[in-house]
Assembly symmetry: C2
Homo-oligomer: 414 residues x 2
């Protein structure tokens, strides 16, 4: 129905297994027909978990459920995710649906309901009829396999046009560990994560408190640096599960997030989440351009980020990009409206390597034809110097705003 | 080229003259061909002025010029406005262009350059070649008439599809006075005024300090309550000129903005600016719906306004409106992302008079067919109760987000 993103990968990566993780997906018919929409992930006993959840003031009951489990430091024995229905703003029936889902999974998996993490994505405001897919969920108990990563990534999709998977192999104190991740977008993507689900799995033996910090830190530089339409969802969830299966190979117990033996792991995790975040943007609804916005020379990183998001979220900038129009005046406008200090007389703009504006006016060497040719590329870089000589810098990623976005969102019930 | 807004008035109002005001417009060929793009307004000696200017950190030199004149409490002898070129981010050449324009008008009008108020709207980043239209500007000196209101309103248009005019007759202390206004939109419309110019003219004898307060107050409830695309321009300018021609008829000197003898005048001014603000929204780029968003039950008016703008600016809400889809889940999303306190369990939503959600879930009487029928109207009301029982309330006005918006902005160089 919807055209596949031009940035869809030519082939999907084959993810290695992660000790202590097994997955299965099924067609539960929640909303979509003829595709898998229900995911069960089973963890070996003792798996730890950290997470980052939506800042929305109207969070779904699944988000509230996860928040409560994370706050109590629960271990994880299972993760259940459905697509097609976000079970958000569904009142007591929504809360009951969460409890029932956790209960069913707890029964088959032989654990407490509070060991079952949950996420739902899709339409807001429609009650989730758990009884209608209870048998399908029970059936997943027998179906889990260590290699069902693509199935898992497909089962959590909504308007996504390709499944999002990534994996990194890294080391902790010289011992090899694996991190796998799956994610879904693709509208309502904005800072603070938007309708974005990402689940990360490692065999490293890391305690929950540490995972919480690692998850917060890695989200800050990846999923919180992307925007498709500036809208934030009720259901954003990033969970980082650590089974500890690599413990046998001699990974030491680490509790300090700044322990230098974690450095490689953190780099790999950041690389993995940024990879997934880019995939989310590259499947942004209706996009034809993948756009990096880089701002430096601001007083603080926060100021630079405010400017970068002001550009990345501006409908006038995004429509100009869609039209391949090097309309740098709209970037000036977006910088100006960001509300943070800049020096307009020292402000500078580049499209890729092309100097566009400098010293408060158009660059003397600027030629519209050259910039127009640059705009025809699929991947664009907008670079802004805020003029203050400060160390504040930020990079965010976004899409253009196209007829495709309107087509998808004027009809799709999300 | 661009289709006229479906909300364009069937006929334009004929504005009465305002004592001490004369206007003329001409074809200066700045960007547009075959239409007037340069406006001169002449004021009788002693005219006072107050204003509200863009909060952008990249304001145009014309905005800086007006800000400086307002801060020095200058009287006004002339107003010069051009469309087609915003003369923004044009460096020293832009500053020189402002000085030259004021100089030319000062010479013909026989006043100081600092008595000439200026505004420019159109493309950002291209130097304004004043010498190319200097003779046209000089020629306007002979052409001014007290009744050229429609010409004036047309001369300041950019992507506007109809000229925006309004007039009110009111009283100060029993003496009749007139207020006329012209305005232009129509993209980059957002709180803090966006690419919006509005010029207001009265024959009331009101001092500059008072006009400043009146202008700030009336903008807060009109032009700062509208949004088309959340983008804010470099050039927003609202100026309120008072010639004092009604002084002869015995209007007393008033300096206190809270003087009860000003009450009717303030009401009329608020009515007039709200009328113009609605016209600006009703000519929003590509719109097919005129949407009122009303929020109450928040802790403060500021909180209510944050929620209302979060709804009014949400691309997902606006595309749903374009698709005539009663997708109230997206309103829940927008309320949730506003970042201010609400009670999700008491939150309620109405489309017009139709109860949609209440008590944290869909309203028991809600029927999608009824809501879908409502959505087919041209004018829509989205009403939200924030659930807190507070006195905080706000109303804002917006448009839907359509293919037309993309068409206009992927090509038009603004």
């Amino acid at each position: 129905m919807t055209k596949t993103s031009p940035f869809a990968p030519a082939s999907l990566p084959t993810l290695p297994s992660v000790g202590g993780v097994a997955l299965a997906a099924a067609e539960a018919g929640i909303r979509y027909q003829g595709r898998k929409d229900l995911l069960l992930v089973r963890f070996a006993e003792g798996a730890e978990v950290g997470g980052a959840l939506t800042t929305s003031r109207t969070p779904s009951p699944a988000v509230n459920w996860c928040r409560s489990l994370l706050n109590s430091g629960r271990h994880a024995r299972a993760l259940v995710v459905n697509s097609g229905n976000a079970n958000a703003f569904t009142g007591q029936r929504g809360v009951d649906a969460v409890h029932l889902t956790a209960q069913i999974a707890a029964e088959t998996e032989g654990c407490a309901p509070e060991d079952v993490f949950l996420a739902s994505t899709g339409v807001i405001g429609e009650p989730l009829e758990v009884s209608a897919f209870a048998d399908t969920l029970r059936g997943l108990h027998e179906a889990v396999r260590p290699d069902a990563w693509e199935d898992a990534a497909r089962a959590i999709m909504t308007t996504d046009t390709f499944p999002k998977l990534a994996s990194r192999t890294t080391q902790i104190d010289g011992v090899e560990v694996t991190i796998n991740g799956i994610a879904k977008g693709s509208g309502m993507i904005a800072p603070n994560m938007a309708t974005m689900l990402a689940f990360l799995f490692t065999d490293a033996p890391l305690p929950g408190g540490l995972l919480q910090t690692l998850c917060t830190d890695t989200v800050a530089q990846s999923f919180n640096r992307i925007t498709v339409d500036s809208d934030t969802s009720t259901s954003d969830t990033v969970l980082l599960f650590a089974t500890g299966a690599a413990r046998d190979r001699g990974v030491p117990e680490i509790t300090d997030p700044h322990d230098s033996r974690l450095e490689e792991f953190r780099l790999a995790l950041d690389e993995l989440t940024l990879d997934l975040a880019h995939q989310v943007v590259q499947d942004g609804e209706g996009l034809t351009k993948f756009v990096t916005v880089r701002v430096d020379g601001a007083h603080t990183d926060e100021d630079a980020q405010a400017i970068a998001f002001s550009i990345a979220n501006s409908p006038l900038v995004k429509t100009a990009l869609a039209g391949e129009d090097p309309n740098w005046g709209r970037i000036i406008m977006a910088v100006g409206k960001a509300g943070v200090e800049i020096d307009p007389d020292e402000l500078a703009i580049w499209f890729g390597e092309i100097p566009v504006a400098a010293g408060g006016e158009v660059h003397p060497d600027y030629e519209e034809a050259e910039a127009a040719a640059y705009m025809k590329r699929d991947e664009l870089l907008i670079r802004v110097y805020a003029g203050l000589g400060g160390a504040g810098a930020a990079t965010v990623w976004t899409t253009d705003l196209t007829h495709g976005y309107i087509d998808i969102n004027a009809d799709y019930r999300s």
